[in-house]
């Protein structure tokens, strides 16, 4: 490999048939990825889908069981130091030393990346403004709030000007305002030329940020594309009906409505697909009423990435208090 440190490969992340097993658990099972330099790539999936394991492999913390992975043009198994010099990583849990001050942590990080004192001070100046952490840098990290820890973690990942930034669920557990701030930061960093590989369980996050999205479930990459392409691939509008009981009866009634393409039932929720949702909304309401089912909620909307996930896996990505799980699937040992 002859890519110089300053050179930038066309492909930021490439994997070929990448597998990572933990004994009997196939956390990542044959994933092929091709993330272009300059992209924000959203990696979407429920808890235990294999997102974090894949990030750990790409960040050289884990070796692949089989297959290949390259980051910034370097093989993660054979050239880990070359990879480490070019990546920045903010893992799911902010990996910080609470006994240090923010500035001590960033300075040490800079030293370990071979930066001179002048370069470190320059980067500290830039980063303190970029991640909006300013005066708190001089305080011990144990005094930081969750949002501040996340921002410092991001700053630590950026000290050495990485080409590729891995953000593993960067907004999990953050309040909505902090989440929007992180989104702004991600967009700004990408505008500066950094390729961003973002794992998330938040559909709206992938939708809002990512140029392309890969959907992973049970270790497999099941679909990939731009958010709009993925949603368009469903080819229909979505009507969501929440009923109090008799969901199966309601399903049978709605299936008979002219213009309805597909009806799925998940608990007390009916997902109705129709090419022209607005045209069938009233007939669906009448069908529900006529079969004697009490309707709590009836909504017409554009398809979301959750609908794509539902279509592909038969389950939702559930989000409860920052924890997402796929309905009806078990955890597969996401590390």
């Amino acid at each position: 490999m002859s890519i110089g440190l300053g050179a930038v490969a066309d492909t930021a992340v490439r994997t070929e048939d990448l597998r990572r097993f933990f004994e009997d658990t196939r956390a990542v099972d044959g994933v092929d990825l091709d993330v272009k330099t300059g992209e924000i790539y959203g990696f979407l999936g429920p808890n235990g889908a294999g997102k974090s394991t894949l990030v750990h492999v790409l960040c050289t913390l884990l070796l692949p069981t089989s297959g290949r992975a390259e980051v910034a043009g370097f093989d993660v198994a054979r050239q880990p130091v070359d990879v480490r010099l070019r990546i920045g990583v903010a893992l799911q849990e902010a990996s910080l030393d609470p006994a240090q001050t923010g500035i001590e942590l960033l300075r040490l990080q800079g030293r370990l990346y071979g930066l001179s004192k002048r370069e470190i001070e320059q980067r500290l100046h830039e980063l303190s403004q970029l991640v909006d952490i300013g005066p708190a840098l001089g305080h011990r990290i144990k005094t930081y709030s969750g949002g501040m820890r996340r921002r410092l973690d991001l700053a630590a990942a950026l000290v050495h000007n990485p080409q590729v930034l891995f953000l593993d669920e960067p907004t999990t557990g953050l309040d909505p305002a902090s989440r929007l701030r992180v989104w702004d930061e991600v967009r700004r960093l990408n505008a500066e030329g950094i390729t961003i590989f973002l794992t998330t369980q938040y559909l709206e996050e992938a939708d809002a940020l990512a140029h392309r999205v890969g959907i992973i479930n049970q270790g497999h990459l099941i679909k990939e594309g731009t958010p709009s392409d993925l949603k368009r691939s469903l080819g229909s509008d979505v009507i969501i009906a929440r009923v109090e009981d008799g969901a199966e009866r309601a399903c049978n009634a709605v299936r008979e409505v002219v213009g309805v393409d597909q009806v799925d039932v998940h608990g007390d929720e009916l997902t109705v697909r129709a090419l022209d949702g607005s045209a069938v909304l009233s007939p669906v309401a009448i069908a529900l009423d006529s079969c004697g089912v009490r309707v709590r909620d009836l909504t017409l909307r554009e398809p979301t990435l959750d609908d794509v996930f539902l279509e592909l896996t038969g389950g939702h990505i559930q989000q409860d208090d920052g924890h997402a799980q796929q309905e009806g699937t078990s955890d597969n040992g996401d590390a």
């Binding site: 440190l5 913390l61 893992l91 910080l96 030393d97 040490l108 071979g114 320059q122 403004q129 950026l158």
Partner: protein, 267 residues
């Protein structure tokens, strides 16, 4: 939110170099010590306590029966009590648990320096903590027959011994990642520190204890340190003491670096 922009051009990551990596880790570790007063206090209080008790309770009896200067005889014991088991292993476990160790692993740092840097810090701390114990000896009237150079070698040997012993808690820390397991590593200290000539010379120990003490490397370390105090320059004793440190150090470091290799396995 401000709108600062990054100036990427001048800053490029590169390997820092092995020594710089070690110094970076060591500096961070040393800086943390004053913030963890609970780490330093036992290392100062325990030797002073035992030294005072031992010379107060046993001194007259031991001196009457053996003719020893018991204050000088006990000073190496006090310093061994001060430095044995002193390490940053518990901080390493904290790093493993809070993910900071992983953050370090994602940098281009040389893996060996993750442990060697901590050990460099330990050597500095152990040596520093030896000095008050030696001063305590001076205060109660202990003198070195070998003079100022003897004092320096005395402290140097204490530092080497303390460093040699650190391999055990680091091995446990890296193998288990468990703070409770690291805390129990002090149990290793007891046979080393008590099944030896800590209270009486080898010839005055009872049969079974004398046999065990002959196999205990600390016996030879104490003999070499005592020779600096009241035996004059005895290079044989000093050499045997250094050999004893070397044997313990080889065992403990082998365990520690094997545990590091295990911890770093990515497979």
């Amino acid at each position: 939110m401000t709108t600062a922009t990054l100036d990427h051009a001048p800053v490029r990551a590169r390997p820092a170099g092995f020594l710089a990596d070690c110094i970076g880790i060591a500096t961070r570790s040393i800086r943390a010590v004053p913030r963890e007063i609970e780490f330093v206090v036992p290392a100062l209080v325990v030797p002073v306590f035992f030294y005072t008790i031992n010379i107060g309770a046993l001194g007259p009896l031991a001196e009457a029966n053996t003719g020893l200067d018991f204050k000088a005889f006990q000073l190496p014991v006090a310093i061994i009590f001060a430095v044995t088991g002193l390490s940053r292993a518990s901080a390493l476990v904290t790093d493993i648990q809070n993910g900071y160790f992983d953050r370090l692993l994602m940098t281009p740092i040389r893996r060996l320096s993750l442990l060697l840097g901590l050990m460099m810090a330990d050597l500095v701390l152990i040596t520093t903590l030896s000095i008050p114990v030696v001063i305590m000896g001076f205060i109660v009237g202990v003198r070195f027959e070998t003079g100022a150079l003897g004092v320096l070698i005395f402290i140097f040997m204490a530092g080497l011994w303390g460093l040699a012993f650190t391999g055990f808690p680091y091995a446990i820390a890296l193998k288990t990642g468990n703070p409770a397991a690291v805390n129990t590593s002090f149990i290793l200290f007891f046979p080393f520190a008590f099944l030896t000539t800590s209270f009486l010379p080898l010839d005055n120990l009872s049969g079974w204890l004398q046999t065990i003490a002959r196999w205990n490397p600390v016996t030879y370390l104490l003999a070499s340190m005592r020779s600096l105090l009241y035996g004059g320059w005895d290079f044989y004793d000093i050499g045997v003491g250094l050999l004893a440190i070397g044997i313990v150090g080889t065992v403990s470091m082998t365990l520690a670096f094997a545990a590091l290799r295990g911890r770093l396995k990515r497979g």
